[in-house]
């Protein structure tokens, strides 16, 4: 066989080339689908179909992976979007709560247009069981100063600023033993002084001292600031009378007043920086 091809190879190659040239010439000059091309097409058809099927499958697989990637990207994007929405919702909730407090404060300023208020947040409670002090996030930079009084959003007295830094201040609450505020019993008009007492602090109460007629008091009487001396505005609610007691000496009597404000529950307060009649 090898010898045959080595002897007649060139002849065969020439013959094959001649046949190919003839076929090409026939194909070129004939109209319609040439027979030879037709036959070749028929033979190639199943292979094409198979190739096409494989290519289609590959394309499908590729498309599948593409779609998974797209879906993953979409999923990531949606997750980000959900996270953003959740963050917005959280902010909206905070804003809504703040809005409620501010609306209440607006009521306070509507009732008392002469008040100059500064809103503040309680940042720390007292690190002691022996006194009642709060720290807020407003200081001299916001016009807050020592001696100004602090209320909650309903106009209930919280305490007095006793220490003021650049961006922080310390409030000594009504319950503290250093606290002393001029007060009036709203119903009777009796003028007295509220004082913080250690033995009452835990119950959230304070003492109403120097009463002219303790017998006239009844449980539930409202005690408000007297406003005398121009130190504090008049009419800020301090609390309600609970009972009348005799002091340890057995001579003087004082009323136990339940403070309207619980310092440990306060989150937001308002500093009254100025009011009519302030001295």
């Amino acid at each position: 066989m090898k010898r045959f091809f080595s002897k007649n190879g060139l002849l065969l190659l020439s013959a094959a080339a001649t046949v190919v040239v003839i076929l090409c010439v026939i194909s070129a000059i004939s109209s319609g689908t040439p027979f030879l091309r037709n036959v070749a097409g028929v033979i190639a058809s199943p292979f094409r179909a198979a190739g096409s099927a494989v290519a289609g499958w590959a394309a499908d697989v590729d498309a599948h992976f593409d779609s998974v990637e797209t879906l993953q990207e979409e999923n990531d994007e949606l997750r980000r979007y959900v996270a953003e929405l959740e963050e917005e919702l959280r902010r909206a909730r905070v804003a809504m709560e703040e809005n409620i407090h501010l609306r209440e404060a607006l009521g306070l300023t509507t009732k008392n247009p002469d008040y100059t208020l500064t809103e503040a947040k309680v940042t720390e409670r007292s690190i002691s069981n022996w006194f009642s002090v709060l720290t807020i996030n407003r200081g001299t930079a916001d016009g807050v100063d020592i001696g100004q009084c602090v209320t909650d959003e309903y106009g209930n007295l919280v305490g007095i600023i006793t220490d003021a830094g650049y961006n922080w201040s310390r409030i000594t609450t009504l319950l503290d033993t250093d606290s002393s505020v001029g007060a009036t019993v709203f119903r009777t008009g009796d003028v007295a002084v509220t004082q913080g007492r250690l033995e009452l602090m835990e119950e959230g109460c304070l003492a109403l001292c120097y009463l002219t007629d303790p017998d006239s008091l009844i449980s539930g009487d409202q005690v408000v600031t007297s406003g005398l001396g121009g130190y504090l505005p008049e009419g800020l609610v301090i609390g309600t009378v609970r009972e009348v007691r005799v002091d340890d000496g057995g001579v003087n009597r004082y009323a136990v007043v339940k403070a309207k404000v619980s310092p440990e529950k306060l989150v937001q307060v308002f500093v009254i920086r100025d009011f009519d009649g302030r001295e």
Partner: protein, 167 residues
């Protein structure tokens, strides 16, 4: 002990102190058990002094007291400096003469520190007219409530720091 190791040890103590101060300010200050909130500030100086040399412990107590006096309201001026130094000195004495440094020593030193700080506050309150019964009751409750928190927060952390920085 090398200077490098000493620096690392006190850096760790400083970091732990800052964390406990934050915890005291933002968490313990808002907890109320039996009408009192746990106070662990002076115990920091006391527990520190049980294992460290007294001069180091006193310097630490002065810094801790100054920071506390700056940050927190107190019954007297320099309240925390005085009490932290006194607690550290007493604890150093207890750890060297009475009980070997360890959990029992920390219990004793924390109790002394709490009694000291509560006692001074009680005296100030008595001076301003508070009934003795109320002040004593509050003092005892404060010690009982604060002691477990101090031992839980400070003793394990300080012991661990001392152990890992001992060559």
């Amino acid at each position: 002990m090398t200077r490098r190791l000493l620096t690392i040890r006190w850096s760790f103590y400083g970091l732990a102190t800052v964390l406990i101060l934050v915890l005291q300010s933002q968490v313990l200050g808002r907890i109320s058990i039996w009408g009192v909130c746990p106070i662990v500030l002076t115990c920091l100086g006391a527990v520190g002094a049980t294992r460290e040399p007294l001069p180091h412990a006193v310097i630490y107590a002065i810094v801790l007291g100054t920071v506390s006096d700056t940050l927190f309201a107190a019954a007297l001026p320099c309240f925390y400096v005085l009490l932290c130094v006194a607690s550290a000195a007493l604890s150093g004495l207890v750890a060297r003469r009475v009980v070997v440094p360890g959990f029992l020593c920390s219990v004793l030193c924390c109790a002394v520190a709490l009694l000291l700080s509560g006692g001074v506050s009680a005296v100030v309150m008595l001076h301003s007219g508070a009934p003795a019964g109320t002040a004593t009751g509050l003092l005892l409750r404060e010690v009982l409530i604060s002691l477990p928190f101090a031992l839980l927060l400070i003793h394990p952390v300080f012991t661990r720091i001392h152990r890992i920085t001992t060559p």
